[in-house]
């Protein structure tokens, strides 16, 4: 029985093929995830991985890992990474370059931001076979999921300001790092 099951178990998967991207935006970048659903052996190992390519002047929207720690290893280029801990303190704000490693603990919020013409590529290992993230900005973000009344009372802002916070960013994962006409055209197309 082992020959047909364990011995023949698939143990590798290409994560770098652009055609396999889970998130893809021309001129911004792409993200590809391998977890226990795409590579079943990861269910036993309780690990998963994400490959990211970020082009210049773009950012991965702020987010946090819900159920895993993440170790991000830069494979090419450079980007600014900010990390915030549970006290709301900025615990990392650095330019990360090829060959460097960043630990992103569970629950800590972070943003990856590439400036100018700097592309950034990385591989992230996560300590859960079904690691989940929660975004802090964008169409599927936590802020978008909250009622306006919660936002207005939480941040002491007007309904109109709360509306902007919820609905201005239509993207889910990747966005331009600076405003511009092209950005709004893409938002309209995506919507």
């Amino acid at each position: 029985g082992l020959e047909e099951t364990i011995c023949s178990m698939r143990t590798h998967e290409s994560i770098d093929d652009p055609a396999r991207a889970d998130v893809y935006k021309p001129n911004l970048g792409r993200l590809t995830t391998v977890n226990s659903l795409t590579l079943p052996i990861l269910q036993f190992l309780k690990l998963s991985a994400t490959r990211g390519i970020l082009q210049g002047n773009s950012m991965v929207l702020p987010k946090y890992n819900m159920n895993a720690n993440e170790l991000l290893y830069a494979t090419a280029g450079q980007a600014r990474i900010q990390v915030v801990n549970d006290n709301g303190e900025n615990v990392l704000d650095k330019q990360v370059q090829k060959g460097q490693l960043v630990v992103l603990p569970q629950g800590f919020a972070y943003v990856i931001h590439s400036q100018g013409n700097n592309n950034f590529e990385w591989i992230s290992f996560k300590t859960n076979s079904n690691a989940m993230i929660s975004a802090l900005a964008g169409r599927t973000s936590a802020l978008r999921a909250l009622p306006l009344q919660v936002l207005t009372n939480a941040y002491q802002i007007s309904l109109e300001e709360a509306r902007k916070i919820k609905f201005n960013t239509l993207e889910t994962t990747l966005t331009h790092a600076s405003g511009g006409q092209q950005q709004y055209i893409e938002q309209i197309v995506e919507a």
Binding site: G88, E89, L146
Partner: protein, 274 residues
């Protein structure tokens, strides 16, 4: 838990010579309530691998969205309210059927259940108009909102943010267990709360929300708002804490309660009931 391996420093945690009754050891006060914490370093709690907290939300109080790194199970000891949980990626399935301006003008002081019922009417076919601002005003859309009342159990997965609003006339008291030894908590054995809004209050000045640690410029780019508004999100000058008082009506789209559920007879059947 044993199968995942207990760290060496925790292997003797359960060598307990005697057990005792435990009381909260720390109180974090906010504008409209308080959080009472049991000492998670107490040997008995260390042995159990859990942390316990009691949330007291005063009338009209709103417990701001917060998530934890460990699974949480809660029991509503007293009172009633509404709650919302953020489940990443899920659609905003609760929508207002009329503009917010109209609601605020015409529905102040209206019973909660009636509001929800009215909003449900005419909700069909309006999805395309949600989240827009036009001549008719603005309609909100958000994720599911539920009623909670005494006797309810609430379970929350790690990383899911939850908010709670007290709709009753008495303090809403919720006791919660954080399973910090659970595999899904991959941080240390300390209960860690992550606030999406609010601040630590006067007693925890150093504790900000999750947005306060970002550069406001980056935040403004991510949310496509101006820098001033991004700074507002950081609650830097806010000393209200994590439970704030809602001024005026708190109007979110939610279904009405069933009358029997509202009534105490639902909990205490009469002599003729089987």
């Amino acid at each position: 838990r044993q199968s995942f391996g207990v760290p060496p420093q925790l292997q003797n945690e359960c060598n307990l010579d005697n057990l005792d009754v435990l009381q909260p050891s720390e109180v974090i006060k906010s504008e409209a309530g308080r959080v009472e914490l049991w000492d998670h370093n107490n040997p008995q709690l260390r042995c159990a691998g859990v942390s316990i907290a009691r949330f007291i939300i005063e009338e009209g109080g709103l417990y701001l969205p917060t998530y934890f790194s460990s699974p949480k199970i809660s029991y509503v000891v007293q009172g009633m309210g509404i709650r919302g949980v953020v489940v990443p990626g899920c659609a905003e399935t609760f929508m207002d059927s009329q503009p917010i301006e109209q609601q605020q003008q015409g529905q102040e002081g209206e019973a909660w259940g009636q509001q929800g019922q009215q909003r449900q009417q005419g909700q069909q076919g309006q999805q395309g108009q949600q989240g827009q601002q036009g001549q008719q005003g603005f309609r909100d859309m958000h994720q599911k909102v539920e009623h909670v009342r005494h006797g309810d159990i609430i379970a929350i997965a790690p990383g899911s943010a939850q908010w709670v609003y007290n709709t009753g006339k008495q303090p809403l008291i919720i006791v919660a267990l954080f399973d910090i030894a659970n595999y899904q908590n991959q941080l240390d054995r300390s209960p860690r709360s992550f606030r999406l809004a609010g601040s630590g209050g006067q007693e925890q000045q150093q504790k900000g929300n999750m947005l306060s640690g970002f550069d406001p410029k980056i935040l403004s780019q991510a949310l496509k708002i101006d820098v001033r508004l991004a700074q507002e999100l950081q609650n830097q000058k806010d000393s209200r804490g994590n439970i704030v008082l809602v001024k005026g009506p708190f109007q979110v789209a939610r279904p009405p309660l069933r009358q029997k559920y509202e009534s105490e007879t639902w909990r205490h059947p009469g002599p003729q009931d089987n």
